[in-house]
């Protein structure tokens, strides 16, 4: 009896629609907030550096249009096709990750080689790897479901692939992407049914490894943790500079913010104000109220994706389910890391805020992922309708 009601109530979330309103509206809202904030944060910067205050606004607009096309592409591609050729995506991403490390191909910015300049567009291979990893791992988990749920080998195999990815990412280095991909892989395997004992044993091992590293390389650890004291005299004009400016932006925002366009921190005080630190400018201009709304939108997006995944799993659409879980975790972890960096909870790592930050690859990938989730939603709807007919 109880079971039935639950089923019905779950079902009522998903009526016969092609697009999920509760997913797309928050995504569109985040994109619009992003467009506004990129414009606000970059105008003064661009008028000095690019002689055109609308330089970044125009480009971000173009990225959003391209992002819609990316959305449609992933929405329309048959899921069976994606599942079948996910290994190809993984290989291609590996090729790009290796290519970026070849001198002359990779672009070095701020000490990291993360970009390939395609002339009209700079591609960030770590971003494509996120997608490829999710697509490939999902198909693996479906293929080897029994092995994964019962044997060590099922657990270890993907770890080997992950190991290669990690090595390549740390060579760039790109710790942010590393953490995002690691979280997605572990999360997906956990949800796919890896034995809990095994899983937590591995997690414990990771924790111990980190602890040993911390103890053995105290100097490096201290430097890494210097972000916790950005206002200390030795950091304030050095490694902590950017963070102090971000924190000041948050503080200045107070409850309701200083108002759109009134940020002072964007006036050359806060570097990267329109990319990785756009959240700080948003916090300054819209205050804690704005932050709460933004967090709410992210909760809606991620929660919605996860529940679509759960619904797919209930309908035995495992590939769809794991993909959705992976995408949800990727977006959630990336957002949390970016927020953590902006607020000084985590050390500064180059990671964008999904849908909001300036950056071509990020927008294309994020909207592409939403396209894929919509595709999954579609297939969930179809399967559900068929079952009802039967």
């Amino acid at each position: 009896m109880t079971q039935l009601t639950l089923d019905q109530s779950t079902r009522s979330y998903f009526d016969n629609r092609y697009f999920d309103f509760w997913l797309l509206v928050p995504v569109i809202a985040l994109c619009l907030i992003g467009f506004t904030m990129v414009t606000s944060a970059s105008m003064d910067f661009a008028s000095i550096n690019n002689n055109n205050p609308y330089h970044h606004m125009q480009r971000h607009g173009i990225y959003l249009v391209l992002g819609c096309m990316s959305f449609l592409l992933f929405y329309l591609l048959p899921l069976s096709f994606i599942q079948k050729f996910s290994w190809l995506a993984l290989l291609l991403s590996f090729a790009l990750l290796i290519a970026v490390l070849i001198p002359g191909i990779g672009m070095k910015v701020n000490g990291s080689i993360r970009w390939i300049n395609l002339g009209f567009f700079t591609l960030q291979p770590s971003e494509t790897m996120k997608v490829a990893m999710v697509l490939y791992l999902s198909s693996y988990l479906v293929r080897r479901q029994i092995e994964v749920r019962s044997k060590w080998s099922g657990f270890v195999k993907p770890m080997v692939v992950l190991g290669f990815v990690v090595v390549l990412l740390l060579a760039e280095p790109d710790f942010g992407a590393f953490v995002v991909i690691l979280s997605a892989v572990l999360g997906m395997m956990f949800l796919a049914g890896v034995r809990a004992g095994q899983f937590f044993l591995v997690m414990l091992g990771c924790v111990i490894a980190v602890a040993i590293m911390a103890v053995s390389q105290e100097y490096r650890m201290l430097r890494l943790l210097s972000y916790l004291e950005p206002f200390s005299p030795e950091n304030v004009y050095g490694s902590g500079y950017q963070l102090t400016q971000a924190l000041i932006a948050f503080g200045r925002g107070e409850w309701f913010g200083v108002g759109l366009g009134n940020s002072i921190q964007k006036l050359f005080y806060l570097p990267e104000a329109h990319t990785d630190f756009v959240l700080s400018i948003f916090a300054e201009e819209f205050g804690l109220v704005g932050i709460v709304i933004l967090f709410g939108l992210f909760c809606l997006v991620v929660g919605r994706i996860m529940f679509i995944g759960k619904r797919a799993e209930e309908l035995s659409l495992y590939y769809q389910a794991y993909c959705a879980y992976g995408i949800g975790i990727v977006l959630a972890v990336q957002a949390i890391i970016n927020i953590g960096v902006n607020t000084g909870v985590l050390p500064t790592k180059g990671l964008t805020l999904p849908f909001v930050s300036y950056g071509g690859t990020s927008i294309l990938i994020c909207l592409g992922l939403i396209g894929l989730v919509s595709n999954i939603y579609q297939s969930v709807q179809d399967t559900q309708n068929n079952q009802e007919v039967i």
């Binding site: 921190q265 035995s316 909870v345």
Partner: protein
């Protein structure tokens, strides 16, 4: 087989939610709980107190020509903590500081790299956009007339405060009040908006002098020529406008260029027209005769025998260059007879002599309050003995400034009326009321006598073509510790023109001219003539047709 791990699903969601909660807690901490700290840190970074520098007032001549002006300049400063090491080389080259100096100052938050550049020069450095390097607008004092009027105007120090001359005297009037305001700035230093006015600024006020730069230049040029040619130690020229006692020129030698800090020292700084006192010698005879006429005991018909005579208290017999016989007052002045004026003085007595000299302004302040100004020395008459009275009558035992001589001469030219001296063109303050020193009749009589001095007597070289001139020469021996020296003199000439309607008074004093000619008639009178010759046409005084 198709088991769904519902608890795992919610476990993941809870983990994500917990992470987000941590972020929210942090945002709450930053934006609400501890916001004051971050707001304060922000203010420290972008709120600046900006000084509103105001210019010091200008000093201009009667026609508005600049004598002292403040020009805007830019000084380059640096917050060395923010200057990048790689910029040291270019910074050192552009600002002419050594690299080691820059390294030494590495931790200073504000050092001045270059002082007082023109805005164009400063822009070259600022356009490099070096981090930590910024500029401040300041003002620099400039004296367009340079050495021509250096001692009167004076100069300011590096902080723009008056150090001497009028710059010192009118410091409070010329100095503006710098204001200050709180502003928000971008990291590049551009002001975003004003927050609060901390102190209102007030512009420094201008001063317009009665000086006529053209006449000043003329006086200085002629004085410099004479002092240089005669190898004299110093000299002064004062020109007064008789009608209102406005000071038209006040030139002094030696002089200096006030725009060059290295020259601002020594005797050249002395405004000798006002702060040098000396024994005037024979020019005083004009004022002794004024006393004679005013006493009523003498008039233009009086005849005096100027036979050499003994004066009580004097070791030698008092005599003139030669014995002129029985002569009139006019001839006494013309020949500059010491015996003649001594006889008059002894006849008048100390009371009358002192009173008359005092009324002319000797021994008194000029009323200009110029820094370092002296009053000269007019001895108390109760102690005068015969020898002192005699010396006084021909200008010894008394000290005067060139300005006092000019003012006293102007009294004779101005029908016996003494007007207060005027140096500020628009000043409404009368330092003293006009005073009658002698009657118009007696003044006219004296004028004619002085006219004869130039026409026939010792002052022939003061004559000016096409104009009538009245005057008196003076040659005083200088005093050393051992007494009067025979070969060091102060040569002077006082006079005015034209005699019928006097326009200006010129006083020329030349200290220690070297060579055979050293007397006032030989040395000072030609300077007077040269200046008067050029000054009268400049003042639109119509020349008399030649007869």
């Amino acid at each position: 087989m198709n088991k769904i791990y519902v608890w795992r699903f919610y476990f993941v969601l809870v983990v994500l939610a917990l992470l987000l909660s941590v972020m929210f807690a942090r945002a709450l901490d930053l934006q609400v709980i501890n916001k004051e700290f971050y707001i304060e840190q922000g203010l420290q970074r972008f709120q600046r107190v900006e000084e509103l520098k105001v210019a010091r007032g200008n000093i201009v001549d009667r026609n508005g020509d600049p004598l002292a002006v403040s020009t805007p300049v830019v000084s380059i400063y640096a917050d060395m903590r923010k200057v990048k090491e790689k910029d040291y080389i270019i910074l050192s080259k552009m600002t002419k500081n050594t690299i080691s100096y820059l390294k030494e100052k590495k931790l200073k938050h504000e050092i001045r790299l270059v002082k007082h550049l023109s805005p164009e020069q400063a822009e070259i450095i600022l356009s490099l956009n070096l981090s930590g390097v910024y500029s401040k607008n300041e003002f620099k004092r400039f004296y367009p007339a340079g050495e021509v009027i250096a001692q009167l105007i004076g100069f300011t120090n590096i902080e723009d405060h008056g150090q001497s001359g009028l710059e010192l005297e009118y410091e409070n009037y010329l100095t503006g009040i710098d204001g200050a305001k709180r502003v928000l700035k971008t990291r590049k230093g551009a002001a975003i908006r004003d927050v609060q006015m901390i102190k209102e600024s007030k512009e420094g006020q201008d001063i317009q002098l009665t000086i006529d730069l053209q006449l000043q230049y003329l006086a200085y040029k002629e004085l410099k020529k004479a002092v240089t040619k005669l190898h004299a130690t110093s000299g002064s020229v004062v020109i007064l406008n008789i009608e209102n006692n406005e000071i038209l020129a006040m030139a002094n030698m030696p002089s200096f260029n006030p725009n060059d800090g290295a020259q601002r020292k020594g005797y050249a700084l002395r405004n000798r027209s006002l702060i040098n006192q000396y024994e005037p010698g024979s020019v005083m005879k004009a004022f002794t005769l004024a006393a004679a006429l005013e006493s009523g005991k003498f008039d233009d018909q009086s005849i005096i025998d100027v036979k050499p005579m003994r004066v009580k208290g004097r070791s030698t017999i008092l005599e003139d260059l030669r014995y002129y016989g029985k002569i009139s007052l006019s001839t006494i002045l013309e020949k500059s007879s010491n015996v003649g004026v001594t006889k008059i003085a002894l006849e008048l007595g100390d009371q009358i002599m002192w009173n008359q000299f005092y009324k002319f302004g000797f021994g008194q302040s000029s009323g200009l309050s110029f820094p370092g100004e002296v009053t000269g020395y007019l001895p108390n008459h109760e102690k005068w003995q015969e020898v002192q009275l005699s010396s006084l009558s021909f200008g010894y035992g008394i000290t005067v400034t060139p300005m006092q001589l000019a003012q006293a001469t102007a009294v004779i030219a101005n029908d016996g009326i003494k007007l207060p001296l005027k140096l500020l063109k628009n000043s409404q303050i009368m330092t003293a009321a006009p005073q009658s020193v002698m009657s118009k009749y007696n003044a006219d009589t004296l004028k004619n006598m002085m006219f004869q001095v130039v026409a026939r007597g010792t002052g022939k070289k003061a004559a000016v073509e096409n104009y009538t001139v009245a005057g008196k020469t003076g040659t005083a021996r200088k005093v050393s510790k051992k007494g009067y020296i025979d070969d060091q003199h102060v040569a002077s000439f006082i006079g005015f023109a034209p005699v019928e309607e006097p326009k200006i008074v010129i006083v020329v004093v030349i200290d220690s001219p070297q060579g055979k000619s050293y007397g006032g008639g030989a040395v000072a009178a030609p300077v007077f003539s040269n200046i008067m010759q050029q000054a009268l046409p400049l003042l639109n005084v119509i020349p008399k047709e030649k007869i």
